[in-house]
Symmetry: C2
Subunit: 340 residues, 2 copies
């Protein structure tokens, strides 16, 4: 397949490398000339069977492409969509941005203007962040075993496009998770965006006391790890998903205010033990174990139901009429294999 | 040195193994017969040069001891202190409990009753937790490079006792941090106890949504890691330090409410970028780098000042009149080596 990857940071660079190493013809582009030069040098050093090329403009990157992967930060997405329209691109488009509702709104405006679709779009998000960034950190195996959301909002994405992209990502060993954009945005607010805010609050408060910084060990190290991420990236991610981050942060604040109240009662040890129970059990049961693979009809409603219960697609049939999928095994309170 | 270690969980077992392997004669005891049996079997398998013995009662463990290490959870400390008094023990006592004010209050009541000191006490806390627990997880190298607080409250601890214990712990490669019990309790509330509460709140909220559990990746994994710790241990730790955990949690809640307000403004990306800056910079500057070793007079006021600025003791002179110490190097905003 001919693929163009626009944006060659950690994720874009990893997509480019992963697709090149699985036999696709890949053209990359980055707005930063230095990044383009780095990517060209790396291409020359790559094994001949897994090389890519680097274009000097978006327009030069897309003429032969059947798929364009947009891998730029949210504020740059609109510009790239405009470039694609300007280049007369009519193939499939996906992205890897960490919020999906706002991207779909931009797509509606730029690609689907006047309600005539000039390109097919499938919003995507690989759950594969790292504190490191840039093409130098790109890794063709980054997506092995990682959840990769592909949005399947009926008014935005055609099922055939979704299945084609899912089949491609499964060759990169990703777990393809079908979801509505709004459900994705709510879920990542809880498990990715709010954790960044908690980590940063913790790091900021501890910094006021040098003794505390010296005593900080494992729980602080891990609890604050993502606070070291570049503030502009975290701000774009959380601020770009403000509508979902607000309620998710409220839920955590509610829980913490309950803990705060438990600290003040006559028996704080007993009150905290009761408060800690459910979260502790939930964490002990995470990550969910994969159940036995099942075959499902390749229908949007079936796929969305699969995603909603935490399942993912592991295969797409050649004829695109069925998919192979797994659902997570519900944790069993007794600790033995679940009977459900 | 003859040492008795009372309580053979992860920390007590590691202390026992570390002291045995550095040539001390160590007798261990645990209230649980199964743990005693495990420790006896492990002793038989240890190299002849690093063996320990296991006593059947506290009374049997202490007759020859010059030092008793209390390594039981806070609720069991009073009982052990009573046993020591009952056994007529008059040597040095330390502990490894994660709160120091409440332990010193128990010591005052049990060991220093009637203001006659029947044993010397130095409250201690090695910052070396793990999610694993029990003697089976004990590791003689657990304390290498770890901060180990030794309290130096003048009304509780004699300087000579403090220096003797510091010298011993330095042979286990610990960084010995002098502190008042109240300062310790405030610092660990911020960097250890509150992180456990945040991790648990995060895990509990995400558990409500199966899609979120499936999408959860690195930031969730690390941000919730310690939530899997046994709730009774976390409750004892946080509830036992309630007086310090309350204000530390309030500080984090204040910071998070500021973030919540930033999410709701017209430009959440800009507002969050400003909010994220200080915490992100603080985390990037952590852990503090060690400065050049200096020689300091072995005086309580000097040692406490060292601890307050985040420094630690790396050596105690034979004559106990000076110590070698390092202070952390303040982070330089420009990124070059600090001139301060």
């Amino acid at each position: 397949m001919d693929v163009a990857v626009i944006g060659l940071g950690l994720i874009g660079g990893s997509v480019l490398r992963a697709l090149a190493s699985t036999g696709h013809r890949v053209l990359g582009y980055d707005a930063d000339p230095a990044t383009r030069a780095t990517a060209r040098t790396a291409a020359a050093r790559a094994p001949a069977s897994g090389r890519w090329q680097v274009a000097g403009t978006v327009r030069d990157a897309v003429p032969r492409a059947e798929l364009v992967v947009i891998a730029v930060p949210l504020p740059a997405v609109a510009g790239v969509l405009g470039d694609l329209v300007g280049a007369g691109y009519t193939g499939l488009v996906t992205d890897v941005t960490s919020v999906k509702g706002p991207v779909q709104a931009l797509v509606d405006q730029h690609l689907y203007g006047g309600h005539t679709r000039i390109a097919g779009f499938v919003g995507g998000h690989p759950m594969a962040g790292r504190e490191t960034s840039g093409f130098g950190a790109a890794d063709p195996t980054l997506f092995a075993g990682c959840a990769w959301v592909l949005c399947l909002d009926p008014q935005v994405t055609a099922l055939a496009d979704w299945l084609e992209l899912a089949a491609l990502l499964i060759t990169l060993k990703a777990r393809v998770v079908p979801a509505l954009a709004a459900d994705h945005d709510r879920a990542v607010a809880a498990v990715s965006h709010v954790p960044h805010l908690l980590a940063t609050a913790l790091a900021a408060v501890a910094a006021d006391d040098p003794l505390a910084s010296t005593l900080a060990a494992g729980s602080f190290r891990d609890g604050t790890r993502v606070a070291a991420t570049r503030p502009d990236l975290v701000a774009a991610m959380c601020g770009g998903n403000a509508a979902a981050v607000g309620p998710a942060l409220d839920a955590v604040l509610d829980a913490l205010h309950q803990a705060r109240a438990a600290v003040d009662v006559d028996d704080p040890i007993g009150a905290l033990r009761a408060w800690l129970g459910p979260g502790s059990a939930a964490r002990a049961a995470w990550p969910p174990r994969a159940g036995t693979p099942v075959e499902l009809p390749a229908r949007a409603d079936v796929l969305l139901r699969l995603g909603r219960v935490g399942g993912w697609v592991t295969g797409v049939a050649e004829d695109r009429r069925t998919v192979t999928a797994v659902r997570p095994v519900p944790p069993d309170p007794a600790g033995s294999p679940a009977a459900r």
